[in-house]
């Protein structure tokens, strides 16, 4: 029997699931280690930590469902080679089929029964009158519909994946540079330190948005120049999203690298590292076995703190025009598309409201979770007496 659909694995899906699997495997292998378990117990034991973790888990679930992609098979003659729709859907789309397909003509307010815009209607007596036409699906749009009649709740839910990807994959791209170069600079010193410091001072000296904008413009031109590489619009948007994450990672590693450099400078003078060196332990082993585990808490704290900043940055970058693909669902694109709606008479507020509200909840949960993680992992952080 032939499947009625063809699974599609976008690059970002693969990376996201790989990251998740890696994280789970790490947690599973460490589950009996006290030094690993205790801080997480502390995080989950605090009210704010546990609460924000639950909210983040809900967002993550939506994002993961939205990362299981497929293409529907088009109805065709039996015996013919199967044809698949060009549109890439996800498990979330399938679950929300009603929300996705029950579109209206244009704007309608949350839970409204009539459109937001007057039209010429034929009354029962046959006369034309201008009035608000009834909706096709009255009362089903919890957050209203946008300009082309799409359900705003659906758009908001679809935007979650983009935010999560930007927040996590950027860190994935950033970590090798930050960890490798930061520790190397601190541990080896000398000319290695000089070169690495030169590189990150140079990168730091360029205004962040401009460097990102410059790199994104270049990627954009390259993508436009090679349309043959992408078989669907979703694949193209996906590559652009990954490029954006890579660019944010390449421009964002300097802060953590500087932190790790300082830490490595301190650690290399401590007895256990000195002893390892005296015993003739190879350098690479000292770095991976003795230095790396002792800076992991800093890496983890930075990764969690950066997450919220990156979710917010996506919106700003999309507004500037150097964010994700304009056709991709993201909070930035939602805000960008709706930014003139407050200037309308009467005001259309629900799309902006939804985008900001979803973003606020996600970022607030991430910030609170980051605070809890920092309190548990950072020996220097303030503890409530």
């Amino acid at each position: 029997m032939m499947l009625p659909l063809k699974p599609v694995l976008l690059w970002s899906d693969a990376l996201l699931f790989l990251l998740l699997a890696g994280g789970l495997a790490l947690a599973w292998s460490m589950r009996r280690e006290d030094w690993f378990r205790d801080p997480w117990r502390q995080v989950m034991g605090s009210r704010l930590g546990a609460g924000s973790a639950v909210v983040l888990a809900a967002f993550l679930a939506v994002g993961l469902l939205d990362s299981l992609h497929y293409r529907e098979r088009l109805p065709g003659e039996p015996g013919q080679a199967a044809q698949y729709a060009g549109e890439v859907l996800s498990a979330l789309d399938w679950l929300l089929t009603d929300l996705r397909t029950q579109t209206e003509k244009t704007y309608s307010a949350p839970l409204a029964t009539h459109l937001y815009v007057k039209e010429s209607l034929k009354g029962p007596d046959g006369r034309e009158a201008r009035d608000y036409p009834p909706l096709r699906y009255p009362g089903t749009h919890l957050l209203g519909t946008d300009k082309v009649g799409q359900d705003v709740l659906y758009l908001s839910l679809k935007s979650i994946r983009t935010g999560l990807l930007i927040g996590t994959l950027t860190t994935l791209f950033m970590l090798p540079f930050a960890i490798g170069l930061g520790i190397a600079a601190g541990y080896f010193g000398g000319w290695v330190d000089d070169v690495i410091q030169y590189v990150y001072t140079t990168l730091n000296s360029i205004p962040g948005v401009l460097l990102i904008a410059a790199a994104v413009l270049v990627v954009q031109v390259q993508i436009e120049a090679h349309p043959e590489l992408f078989d669907t619009a979703a694949a193209r948007a996906d590559v652009r999203l990954l490029a954006l994450c890579a660019i944010l990672g390449l421009t964002g590693w300097t802060g953590l690298a500087r932190l790790l450099r300082g830490e490595a400078l301190k650690l290399r003078e401590l007895e256990f590292v000195q002893a390892a060196r005296a015993f003739g332990v190879p350098r690479i082993r000292i770095l991976t076995r003795h230095l790396l585990p002792n800076v992991m808490h800093l890496v983890l704290i930075t990764a969690v703190i950066d997450f919220s900043g990156l979710v917010l940055a996506e919106a700003v970058l999309s507004y500037v025009g150097v964010g994700v693909d304009p056709a991709m669902n993201s909070f930035g694109n939602m805000i960008n598309g709706a930014r003139l709606e407050l200037a309308r008479e009467p005001v259309v507020w629900w799309q902006l409201f939804s985008a900001f509200a979803f973003m606020f909840v996600l970022v607030l949960a991430a910030n609170l979770f980051a605070d809890a993680v920092r309190a548990a992992l950072d020996p220097k952080s303030e503890r409530k007496a």
């Binding site: 000296s205 360029i206 410059a214 413009l217 390259q222 500037v320 025009g321 909070f331």
Partner: protein
């Protein structure tokens, strides 16, 4: 002191050269002038001649590093790298794609940018440090807890929200100020207030929390205990000792940002229609005018390095123990 500055200036040269090489690599090697011509001509009008004409008009019809057709020194100087990249060192920014002189645009547009960025920066610093001192003074009380929660909530809101909401409330609903625009001269003030207020509010959460953590760390130190033990009042310790000692970490983050105020804010300027460098940059990005983007990158790096030198200088003023040698 003089030696120090000479050394710092010499150190700036390799950094600026690095910035230059990086942008050159991005805009001329990854992305060739041919690509650039194709974007500006549009898909329909792309022919080999059209691309060649566009490149000649905008001065992009030269080899990257070595010009084998030129004679003598011209082999090295008559190239894109020297013409387009090294010239930036003389602040010769060249022409934008629309044929206007970039240096002149920068000179006229930096004043509106500064008119918004400077008050935002100064008033902001004053407010944030005061709020942080207040929270630190009442540490552990309900006021402090409430303040911190408010800060976390405020910093979880997108910056775009502050701009859009501020514009809607102050401009459209209450009619306090014109929604956007600019007027030269003293009349500019009514266009200034809204962006400055929005900029201030947008920064409250982040900065107050940062300074509060700084003050709390300082208050945990031994000298504070000694000062309290010898009978100094809480207020006196906070304002005389803690504030003075926290100056170094505060200056570290603050002074480096001062020269960059010239560049303005991309988001605020574009929302409020301020003809400053921020909106200039955002327009250039959207029009894919690489000449302007390159100039702004270079200018930004120069201002950053100036900021670093100013930071060192400010340390000597804030802490007599610091000497620049």
């Amino acid at each position: 002191m003089l030696n120090y500055f000479i050394r710092r200036l010499l150190y700036a040269v390799p950094i600026l050269l690095g910035v230059n090489l990086l942008t050159f690599a991005l805009f001329f090697m990854v992305n060739t002038p041919d690509d650039m011509a194709r974007i500006h001509l549009g898909a329909k009008r792309v022919t080999a001649e059209a691309i060649a004409t566009w490149k000649a008009e905008h001065g992009y019809d030269k080899p990257l590093f070595v010009n084998s057709q030129a004679a003598g020194l011209g082999q090295v100087t008559d190239t894109l790298f020297v013409e387009k990249s090294l010239r930036l060192f003389a602040f010769d920014f060249g022409m934008a794609d629309d044929g206007r002189d970039i240096a002149r645009e920068i000179k006229t547009r930096m004043w509106p940018s500064l008119a918004i960025a400077l008050p935002t920066f100064l008033v902001g610093l004053l407010c944030y440090v005061s709020f942080a001192l207040l929270l630190a003074f009442f540490r552990g009380t309900a006021l402090d807890t409430g303040g911190v929660i408010l800060c976390v909530a405020l910093m979880s809101i997108s910056g775009l929200f502050y701009v859009i909401a501020g514009q809607y409330l102050m401009g459209k609903l209450w009619h306090w100020f014109p929604i956007s625009g600019w007027q030269p001269g003293l009349d500019a003030w009514k266009f200034l207030v809204m962006p400055v207020v929005v900029g201030l509010v947008a920064g409250i959460g982040d900065s107050t929390r940062f300074y509060r953590a700084l003050f709390l760390e300082e208050m945990g130190k031994d000298y504070v205990r000694t000062a309290r033990a010898k009978g100094l009042s809480d207020t006196r310790v906070l304002f005389r000792h803690v504030l003075a000692n926290a100056m170094i970490p505060i200056l570290t983050g603050v002074v480096v940002a001062i020269p960059r105020l010239f560049l303005g804010s991309l988001i605020i300027e574009s929302f409020f229609g301020i003809p400053g460098l921020g909106s200039y940059t955002i327009d250039a990005i959207q029009a894919q005018d690489f000449a302007i983007v390159r100039s702004m990158v270079f200018l930004g790096s120069v201002l950053y390095i100036v900021g670093l030198i100013l930071t060192d200088l400010s340390y000597t003023l804030a802490d007599p123990r610091v000497r620049l040698e």
